[in-house]
């Protein structure tokens, strides 16, 4: 049974805006799913519905087998939420706000657990500091500590690294990796492709309120990833010889670079034939390299494709 099941979920706001148009999603226990999508795609609405902040217009959502409407107490006990905005009471101390979060979930005070959470997030030394005196990065950690204070089995991270510097982003990835190692199911929304590429097991792409795909990161990159063979030439070519035309080859860098795009999973890549033809034409090759399309390129082409379809 999936940890989180979303079936045909729709959301139409009062103004008439349709944020979700029949979303289906199943998230397995212990995995990290990155939900990618441009601004306004429906990522935050979907998370907010699962967590109880937004009421769905239709569909079914279950967390750990519990319906989020009729069994909200059971489903919410399993879920921790780290919101996109830094929503914290500025005058409260770190320790108090984290303890409050645990109490809100109906759990007995557990100082050892709270200390462990704060230490893992490098917040223990700041436990008695008022939140307004913390840096932006530390405040984000406090949000995570609050979400972890009730030992959730599912953690939603809504744009956890939006607006943070590179170093802090990497720290955050380490925290996520640590949580996964402890068995927490993690769903994060992001529009940083490198984030999804770095930490996710599976990637979901959402746009215009529809899930475009959900797939294992590696298989997605292999399936959709185009590879390029970049051939550096000894002497520049002013134009492609007739024998090389019609194969999708391109000349770049003023004729010094010949670029051959191919499907890395196809039976024939055409590389051997290309190299033979170059030799036959007397075109000397200086160097050869290959490059795989990044997730970002895949994402951009997919989102543009959905926008064209819409």
């Amino acid at each position: 049974m999936p940890m989180v099941e979303v079936a045909q979920v729709t959301k139409k706001y009062d103004g008439g805006f349709e944020a979700l148009k029949g979303v289906d999603l199943a998230i397995e226990e212990g995995e990290i799913l990155a939900l990618l999508g441009p601004n306004g795609a429906g990522k935050t609405t979907l998370i907010s519905i699962i967590c109880g902040l937004v009421t769905p217009s239709g569909g079914d959502i279950r967390v750990g087998g519990h319906d989020v409407i009729t069994g909200y107490r059971e489903s919410r006990r399993l879920v921790g939420l780290v919101p996109q905005e830094i929503n914290l009471e500025p005058f409260e101390k770190v320790l108090n706000t984290v303890r409050f979060s645990r109490g809100l979930f109906g759990l007995k005070r557990d100082d050892a657990l709270i200390e462990d959470v704060l230490r893992r997030l490098s917040l223990w030394d700041k436990r008695n500091t008022p939140i307004r005196e913390l840096s932006g990065g530390m405040k984000r950690r406090v949000l995570i500590a609050k979400a972890l204070s009730h030992e959730p089995r599912v953690l939603f991270l809504d744009e956890p690294t939006a607006g943070v510097d590179v170093e802090l982003r990497r720290d955050m990835w380490e925290i996520v990796a640590d949580l996964k190692a402890r068995g927490t199911t993690i769903i994060l929304t992001t529009h940083y492709i490198e984030e999804a590429e770095a930490i996710a097991d599976r990637i979901g792409v959402i746009n215009h309120g529809r899930i475009l795909l959900v797939e294992e990161k590696q298989s997605l990159m292999t399936r959709l990833g185009r590879k390029e063979l970049r051939i550096s030439l000894d002497a520049p070519l002013s134009a492609l010889p007739a024998v090389l035309q019609g194969r999708g080859l391109e000349l770049e860098e003023d004729g010094h670079m010949l670029v051959h795009s191919y499907d890395s999973t196809a039976e024939r890549s055409g590389i051997a034939r290309l190299m033979a033809d170059l030799a036959a034409e007397g075109i000397a090759v200086r160097d050869v390299s290959t490059r795989q399309s990044s997730l970002e390129e895949i994402f951009v082409s997919m989102v543009h494709g959905s926008e064209d379809a819409a």
């Binding site: 919410r76 914290l88 979060s101 809100l104």
Partner: protein, 253 residues
Amino acid sequence: MNPRAIWAIYRYEMSRFFRTLMQSFLSPVISTSLYFVVFGAAIGSRIDEVEGVSYGAFIVPGLVMLSVISQAIANASFAIYFPKFIGTIYELLSAPVNFLEIVIGYVGAAATKALFIGTVILLTATLFVELHVAHPFAMVAFLLLTCISFSLLGFILGIWAGNFEQLQLVPLLVVTPLIFLGGSFYSISMLPPVWQTITLFNPVVYLISGFRWAFFGMADVPVGLSLLAIAGFTGLCLAVIWWIFRTGWRLRS
């Protein structure tokens, strides 16, 4: 029921109160003293007695009600509006708590604060006038019911308010005039007959009258009617809050 969640909310709210304890304590002491100086000494010296009670003592129940009602509304409305304003409401809405638990936590804390203020005012009043409470249990019951019911009203206002201006709007334009015109500083029997009838449409009259009865055994309206009015008001507020959480009005999109 989730008693730990109720306790967490209550304790969190009370810790805010304790952070500004001196301010919370001094403010009612000073304002009550000023009322006694102005109404008790300056004006009260020209009024002998009201229905057999010295004017200074007569205004004590009204003064307590004035502060308790204002404080209950202010504390409860701020308590729920502030998380909305700074965004921390997300935590409450995503926690395994129902509307009753949230209300007990927030309203309980606001009512406790109002009760504290009411007690401070009563104690301050004893420095200026001699007070005898004819029906102490009824006095405590009226005080408690007023703290709770107006905290409920404040909670509704806090959810309704879209900005700080709106948060002040109803207390300033509706509640304060109703309290002042509800017999805080006079008996409604002192008014011309037409105004006596009009005043009976003011719900605060029933609270102050009942509370004053608990002190001096005299009332503008029957005590049973006062109890009925405050019970009805509490029930109405609870029904509105239940509806708010059921529909998510101003809380959930």
